[in-house]
Each structure stands twice: as structure tokens, then as C-alpha cells.
Symmetry: C2
Subunit: 114 residues, 2 copies
DNA sequence: GCAAAACTCAACCAAACGGTTGAATATACC
DNA sequence: GGTATATTCAACCGTTTGGTTGAGTTTTGC
């Protein structure tokens, strides 16, 4: 179902991105997977607050969490960003972009993927 | 100041995009500039509610409003989306995208612009 | 000048958000 | 088994969000 942009999903993705703490978390996870405690470390707020932020990021599909032992590992899931990014590209200077050509462009530009 | 992504601005853009009514309004404005009353027409909510949505879109920089007579015209401002879009491209499969090459790609793909 | 049109403002409301603290739950380690 | 670690749960709190309604403001047209 290419090109079908699920509205509730977009709601959740954009809402998740609207918070600077959550965007910072995503940036951190870009480097590497992290435990919840380590994610929380640089922030001046409680671990519980970070835990809630991670739930919101998880429900938006932007991260996944995998529990291994007593540690919950957080992993970036960039695919969720993709739908939102493509939705945005339907505007403005991106208006008339041929998405298939866009995909081909990405494939040629990216080193490892696909 | 290329590449400087203003955090509060991103907050407002993403928050504005997190609502389906507001995304629908943006899609409508993609077609043409519209009066507030005409923007409100297809929605099953009060004009005042739509007026508030337009304020939120305006504060995010996604639209501008120009009053001509008693009619307030709403106009899409896609530049605000651009920063957010570029922020998103720093993730996932867009990570390694050469933005200059991306711009060149857009120029070749778009019929009228630049 | 007066009524209709096109909004916006103000007050209100329920629900969601973003944070807190303290208790609960697993798991790991000695 | 008991204690420390990692994380979530639950209750609470003030603020924001997304809607309502009704009144106010400006402009247009007869």
C-alpha cells in the first residue's frame, strides 16, 4: 500500500517529534542503541519522565525496546520517520517530486542500503 | 545560517503537523489560497475552531494570512516545512543523503521552479 | 444607516501532556 | 536469600489542546 499515509500514525509521529527532549533522544539513538538509564543520564528530569517519553516514541514507531535481562535496550526505527518525511515532501518545493524517482535517487545516494 | 535548526520553531512546526485537521488544511492550501470561511467549510466543526487551527499554523510559520476587506486569505508557506524536513532527513535511510545532490535532483524533477 | 458577512475574542470544558514522587516489579550479584 | 540495579506503575498536579458557544469587530452592500 505504497503512498497510503495512515493518519493516526502520522499524528503520533509528528506529536512525538514536537518535543525537544524526544528529538534529542532520537539523536542520541542515532549513534547507538542505549539502555533506558543511559538515555536518561544527560537530562535533568526523572527516569520516570524519560520512560514516558520512550513510550511515546515507541507508540509512534520511532523506536523499539527490547528487554535483555534487567536492561531495556532502545533502538531507533527510522522507517516511521520515512512516512512522515514523504508526507512533508508533498509540499512546497517538493510538490511535484516523483516519489519513485526519489526512491531511485536515494538508492544511488546511499552507501549500504538496498 | 544554513543548517541551524531552531528548536522552538521545530517544536511548533511538528506540533502543528500533529493534527489531522491542520494537515488537511495544508493540503487544501496546496491547491490555492483560501478565505477562512472556505477553509472551514468541509470540516464538521465551528469556524472559531478552524480559526484557532489557522493561528497555530500561522505561529508555526506554515501559513500566512492577509486581510483584504473583510476576507482573510490564507496562503501556504512551505519554507517552514523545509527545516523540519531537513531535520528528519538526518535520520535513518536519509542519513547519508548529500543535500546538495538532493537539491539538484529536485531541480531536475520539478517542472517550473528555479 | 443598518443588516449581513467574515472573522476573532473570551470564557468555558474535558482530555491529554509533561513533569513529579513513591511504590512495585524484575533481574543480577554475592 | 537478600540487596542493589533497572525500569515501570500509579497517583497527583499545573498547563496546554481542541473543541464549544456567544458576544464583539470590521467591512460590505443596499
Amino acid at each position: 500500500m505504497k503512498g497510503m499515509h495512515n493518519a493516526p500514525a502520522l499524528d503520533m509521529v509528528f506529536a512525538a517529534l514536537a518535543d525537544p527532549t524526544r528529538r534529542a533522544i532520537l539523536s542520541m539513538l542515532l549513534e547507538d542503541d542505549m539502555a533506558v538509564t543511559d538515555v536518561a543520564e544527560p537530562f535533568e528530569m526523572s527516569l520516570a519522565a524519560i520512560s514516558k517519553h520512550l513510550v511515546i516514541l515507541g507508540r509512534a514507531g520511532l523506536i523499539t525496546q527490547e528487554r535483555r535481562g534487567r536492561v531495556t535496550w532502545c533502538k531507533l526505527e527510522p522507517d516511521a520517520l520515512r512516512d512522515a518525511s514523504i508526507w512533508m515532501q508533498s509540499f512546497g518545493q517538493f510538490e511535484a517530486v516523483n516519489l519513485d524517482a526519489f526512491e531511485r535517487f536515494l538508492k544511488t545516494e546511499l552507501p549500504d542500503e538496498g
